[in-house]
């Protein structure tokens, strides 16, 4: 189990950094999708099966589709993007920063002798559906409000476009 967790976490970090560093937005979106897929493997191994399923279908699938739709609606050539934003030059130091911060955190963890808890054994006492619909109903209202906000935001953006056409 530990090998898969380490592998999933490593791949998630790798693809996440690739998504940040890549100057092509399309490749960055694909990197983000691969990072989500790695995270979903990690969640499945850690025992969060429903969350893993949602991560794979929603974050790895839907969010990538949203980004690709956004990219296809804007037709700026790749070279112009590179010239305009200079992402390559700007993100050049990121690997060094990550290695530095990572080393610092490892040294801190080793020297401070932190008393970290171990992972608990998996139990099948609670069902996610019971917790979500029974104990966390406020979350559902929050989610409904969020979805409405998103719908209204998209509707407003499209209305602006129609006005411009007139």
């Amino acid at each position: 189990m530990n090998v898969i967790v380490y592998l999933g976490a490593g791949l998630m970090l790798l693809f996440g950094v690739y998504a940040v560093m890549e100057h092509s937005i399309l490749r960055a979106a694909i990197g983000l999708a691969l990072s989500s897929a790695s995270l979903s493997v990690l969640l499945y191994v850690l025992g969060a099966h429903l969350a893993a399923l949602f991560e794979l279908s929603v974050c790895s699938g839907l969010v990538t589709v949203i980004f690709i739709a956004g990219i296809s609606l804007s037709h700026s050539p790749k070279m112009e993007i590179q010239k305009e934003y200079r992402d390559k030059e700007r993100n050049r130091l990121l690997p060094l920063v990550l290695i530095g911060v990572g080393l610092l955190l490892v040294i801190l963890a080793l020297t401070l002798n932190l008393q970290t808890p171990e992972l608990a054994q998996l139990t099948q006492d609670d069902d996610v559906r019971d917790v979500l619909w029974g104990n966390r109903q406020a979350d559902i209202w929050g989610q409904i409000a969020l979805i409405l906000c998103g719908g209204v935001a998209v509707a407003v953006l499209f209305r602006e476009e129609r006005r411009e056409k007139k």
Binding site: V5, L43, I81, L94, L119, A120, V128
Partner: protein, 101 residues
């Protein structure tokens, strides 16, 4: 170092990468991708906390809520970026300063 510390360090590095993207780029879509990268770490932390406390079902409900927020952030970020592109021909966030009203 045990598994929990390794996952915590990897999550913190993801947050650093996401924050770096927010600070160092002006492309709105790229900034949204940076936010998404940082939110992956938040999802991992929530499941890790649930697994440590033995309340994995509760943590999964939080993860689902975070995912809904993540999708809405992606939708609104992309919609704003496309709107910005249609108005100024670029997704540079510095153009937002020119907006009036």
């Amino acid at each position: 170092m045990n598994l929990v510390i390794v996952l915590l360090i990897i999550g913190l590095l993801m947050i650093v990468a996401g924050c770096w993207c927010l600070m160092r780029t002006f492309h709105l879509l790229k900034m949204t991708i940076g936010i998404e990268v940082a939110m992956k770490a938040v999802t991992l932390f929530l499941v890790l906390a649930g697994r440590i406390s033995g309340k994995i079902a509760l943590s999964e409900t939080f993860v689902i809520t975070v995912m809904v927020a993540e999708v809405i952030v992606a939708v609104v970020g992309t919609g704003t970026a496309v709107g910005l592109f249609r108005k100024y021909g670029s997704m540079d966030v510095r153009n937002l300063k020119q907006l009036k009203g």
